[in-house]
């Protein structure tokens, strides 16, 4: 037995690794850049350029702290043209685009040069100052202007371009370069380059930045001419010793300790440790799941036994139909109906509509009974919703299993021996029909961590389901990866526990 358990535990490891990796891959492909989001809350004072350099620094720090400046996994399969160090590029959108360009032209050197030239051009154009340009291209004139009752002199600049025109030309150029940084289609790039060239020809005042633009053009032409597309058809495998997954598992040797030592990272939403967050929410969900499982077992096992014992009786037929109807009811329908009936000012207001406690009156210092007394009205409706479907499901399983067992020879033998009906049913038959019920029990924990999304959203319960739902909507990936890994772990453990319980209930099953 012990050997069997050990063997199963060893099989866990690859399963868990693959689950966490899958979750990791999903999170990497998610839209949005967490660094952007986290840096938005950073400092917002100072001039524009100061601010931008400050944000840049903050972003770098965040990237480093989250480990996003590392490659994703130990191995990466790419084309021969792919650079080894792409992950070092800071902006996620630019990183994507660089990869696309490289996969198109197959020449990393040339792509890199083109990008450097683009970035330099962007820097120069964004430094252009409208006022300075305006002053440099205009001629001073002093004009006397007559107003109604007073006269004053004013300096008027006269120029062939108005300030608005200059601003527009400058901003358009800037915008075009920015969009060049994110385009990979050759036709689009060429048409944009033409646009910018035309603008330079029309607006001579942009000249200070033209030199850089020319170098962008040369770099792009060089890229076109020196494309080596054959490289994109040759596979290459790159090995990275230090990567995000490694860090997630083992920690970075400093602040983060890694999953293996119980540290699931920090949430992108509020910078809180994920494990603390999950634990807090897990207890709420667990209370519901546990109570509902206990309730449904308490009700469904007797119903299952009785209807199997009195097969084809009125009770059996009636309960079968009722259970079937309950089983086919979607939980969000039942939940909404319950709210409509019992938490609706137009019908009955027996229970509160949502939440788990009243923040105005609830106090942490209360004794346990007072807390329970406070919580229970909040729990009735969600508990019914949690329970009814599993209760219908369990009774049906119990009934089928019981009918199966009741028809077997050893039951007839027990009766022939002269045992009382009570003993035959409750001792001989029941124990043997428990196997399928155990399978369901194995799923309690994983369901607690993820399966209750819809119910918790309907009743706004602050549990795992709602937390997960919010994490998904906000792309909070450390949270999602952790939830997947934990529920995967619990499911596998659940299966193992079920297998061991099988052997306990049925001595014929042995794993040695």
């Amino acid at each position: 037995m012990l050997k069997y358990i050990l063997k199963r535990l060893i099989v866990f490891i690859p399963t868990l690794i693959i689950i966490s990796l899958l979750a990791f891959v999903i999170s990497i492909n998610a839209p949005g850049d967490p660094v952007e989001r986290l840096s938005k809350s950073a400092n917002k004072e100072g001039t524009a350029s100061e601010q931008s350099s400050a944000t840049k620094k903050v972003k770098q720090e965040i990237r480093k702290r989250l480990g996003l400046d590392l490659p994703i996994f130990y191995l990466s399969l790419g084309t021969l043209a792919d650079p080894d160090t792409l992950y070092k590029v800071e902006d996620k959108a630019q990183q994507d685009n660089l990869l696309k360009l490289t996969r198109q032209y197959g020449n990393w050197e040339a792509v890199q040069n083109y990008y450097i030239a683009l970035n330099e051009a962007l820097e120069v154009t964004s430094k252009l100052n409208t006022d300075e340009i305006y002053q440099s291209i205009s001629t001073f004139t002093l004009e006397e202007k007559m107003m109604d009752d007073s006269s004053y002199t004013d300096t008027i600049y006269s120029s062939s371009y108005s300030k608005n025109q200059i601003n527009e030309a400058k901003n358009n150029t800037n915008f075009d370069i920015l969009s060049l940084l994110e385009s990979y289609n050759q036709e689009i790039i060429e048409s944009k380059l033409l646009d910018i060239e035309k603008r330079y020809a029309e607006n001579s005042f942009l000249a200070p930045s033209q030199e850089k633009f020319e170098s962008v053009k040369t770099a792009f032409n060089y890229l076109k001419e020196n494309a080596s597309s054959w490289k994109t058809y040759v596979p290459k495998i790159i090995w990275y010793g230090n990567n995000q997954y490694h860090r997630w598992l083992f920690g970075d040797g400093g602040e983060r300790k890694g999953v293996l030592r119980g540290d699931f990272g920090i949430s992108y939403i509020d910078n809180q440790p994920v494990s603390a967050k999950i634990w807090k929410k897990f207890t709420v969900s667990f209370v519901f799941i546990f109570l509902s499982i206990v309730l449904s077992y308490l009700v469904s096992i007797p119903i299952g036994i009785y209807s199997a014992y009195k097969k084809n009786s009125g009770f059996d037929k009636g309960s079968s139909v009722l259970l079937f109807i309950l089983y086919s009811m979607p939980s969000f329908f039942i939940g909404t109906l319950l709210l409509y009936m019992f938490a609706n000012p137009d019908m009955y207001v027996w229970f509160p509509e949502s939440g788990f406690q009243d923040p105005a009156t609830f106090s942490e210092d209360w004794g346990m009974f007072k807390k329970i007394a406070h919580h229970w009205p909040y729990m009735v409706l969600p508990l019914i919703t949690y329970t009814y479907s599993s209760f219908a499901f369990l009774s049906r399983i119990m009934r089928v299993g019981m009918i199966d067992v009741m028809g077997q020879d050893f039951i007839r033998t027990a009766r022939a021996k002269g045992l009382g009906e009570k003993k035959v049913v409750l001792k001989h038959a029941l124990r043997n029909s428990l196997l399928p019920i155990i399978t369901v029990f194995a799923n309690v924990f994983p369901v607690a961590i993820g399966g209750s999304v819809i119910i918790e959203v309907i009743f706004s319960l602050p549990g795992m389901g709602l937390e997960t739902f919010n994490a998904i909507l906000n792309y909070d990936y450390p949270m999602i990866v952790s939830i997947f890994t934990i529920s995967g772990f619990l499911t596998v453990v659940g299966y193992l526990v079920a297998d061991i319980l099988y052997a306990v209930v049925d001595p014929r099953i042995s794993y040695s």
Binding site: P330, I472, S487
Partner: protein, 450 residues
């Protein structure tokens, strides 16, 4: 049994006929089956049952069939001469409000409202029994005549609930059938391979084994890494072209794998030429275990949340590729059983190829229990779709589905019709599929043959 004494009846015996007879005996299941056919008919003719364009209309001496014309050509533009002025008047079928025209004669659809078009005279949750208004062709706002009543009420912006339910049928049935279609293709293939070959029955030379693994990696490279640009561009141009590019990539993956597999047939001496077992069963069983250890609803929500575009097609594909494990398990168990039966041994003894034995002999006999699993799978796929629409994930905002109607009811408790009717529709469809599944199980299970 001696052959020449077979009666006509025994000769005609086929399992299919027998199962159908058994199925017909099961009253709830056969009723469900007829309800399902009715639902399919409703879904197919939804455009003509609930439409704000009339089926037939005569306007200024010219006859139109707007509902039919928009069905076959959605951008149909037609014109007519106004006899009063003698001018040409353009009628744009898709945007004309036919209720405001002075039509000479007209045949309306049974429900003269389209699901996504608001009726501005009946906004703010009009109950089925409340006073409803209607603007007649003379431009007067009157109490709606029976034909133009919203029999199941309206939502906040005046969309007809009955019409939404009729068109929602299409969505639900499509989701169920397509996602389970995808799931069955994956599940039956993998389950059949795992059950038929097990861990020991597929023997290949080491060289061929390694070449096939290399083929999968290379195929993945050429299909999805070298072509990553084409796939992204495809999805930028629309879901259709994106899925097409994805299909090309899949074909490339299979093609490269097969090519290297063929190449692996080369006879080599030494270590590489020796035979080895391919652990098909272990690979499939492990993947089933892994997929089963992930919370399925969460997985579907997460994947649909990271998709840039929300569309029903993508949702169906996601549900399909995450729901095949049950089917694979059933197929595998059935094939494990069949593998040991005499007729398969006979096929093997006759020297039939593995492929022929599997496809022609094992598959037709092994599929029966899988249908049960597919029927239950469709029920749960519909449940997942309506659950996701209820949460507002994965389904486009403008799409009217049963789940999205129900979630509108959750926001406004006064509107009980927004809760009851969609809820009942979901419940009926799921019950129908579950009952059919039960009936199939009873009809196909040899244990119950009495």
């Amino acid at each position: 049994m001696s052959d020449n004494k077979k009666t006509q009846k025994e000769k005609d015996f086929s399992f299919r006929k027998y199962a159908w007879k058994q199925f017909k005996k099961n009253k709830p299941s056969i009723i469900s089956f007829y309800i399902l056919i009715l639902l399919v008919v409703v879904a197919l003719s939804a455009h003509f049952i609930a439409n704000d364009q009339p089926l037939f209309a005569k306007y200024r001496g010219k006859t139109f069939y707007p509902a039919f014309q928009t069905y076959f050509n959605s951008a149909k533009v037609d014109s007519t001469i106004n006899p009063n002025t003698g001018n040409w008047e353009k009628l744009q079928f898709d945007i004309t409000d036919w209720k405001q025209l002075e039509l000479e004669s007209v045949v309306w659809a049974p429900i003269p409202y389209s699901p996504e078009k608001p009726d501005r005279y009946n906004r703010e949750y009009v109950s089925p029994s409340a006073v409803q208004y209607y603007k007649n062709p003379e431009g007067k706002r009157v109490v709606a005549p029976g034909k133009f009543r919203h029999h199941l009420g309206t939502d906040a912006i005046g969309r007809d609930v009955a019409s939404g339910l009729i068109h929602g049928t299409k969505v639900s049935l499509l989701v169920g059938i397509i996602s389970m279609g995808i799931a069955s293709i994956i599940g039956i293939t993998l389950g059949a391979l795992a059950g038929f070959f097990g861990d020991k029955n597929l023997v290949a030379t080491r060289f061929r084994y390694y070449m096939t693994i290399l083929g999968v990696i290379l195929g993945f490279f050429y299909g999805f890494i070298a072509r990553s640009l084409s796939i992204t561009e495809g999805f930028n141009n629309g879901i259709g072209s994106g899925l097409l590019q994805l299909a090309i990539s899949l074909i490339l993956l299979v093609g490269v794998t097969l090519l290297l597999n063929m190449f692996g047939k080369l006879k080599l001496p030494g270590f590489l030429g020796k035979d080895t077992n391919v652990p098909v069963d272990s690979i499939v069983s492990r993947s089933i275990e892994i997929l089963n250890s992930m919370p399925r609803l969460l997985l579907i929500i997460t994947i649909s949340a990271i998709m840039k575009e929300r569309s029903l097609t993508i949702l169906m594909v996601i549900i399909g590729i995450t729901s095949w494990t049950g089917i694979a398990r059933f197929t595998r168990a059935e094939f494990l059983k069949i593998r040991e039966l005499e007729y398969l041994q006979a096929a093997k003894a006759l020297g039939y190829s593995n492929r022929r034995t599997m496809v022609k002999h094992a598959l037709p006999n092994g599929l029966a229990p899988v249908f049960v699993s597919i029927a239950f799978g469709i029920a749960s796929a519909i449940l997942i779709e309506s659950g996701l629409s209820f949460l507002g994930i994965g389904v486009p905002d403008e799409a009217v589905t049963w789940g999205s109607l129900l979630s509108l009811g959750r926001q406004e408790f006064e509107a009980w019709w927004l809760v009851m009717f969609p809820g009942a529709a979901i419940f009926i469809t799921i019950t129908v599929y579950n009952l059919i599944g039960e009936g199939l199980r009873d009809a196909l299970d040899p244990k119950l043959k009495q």
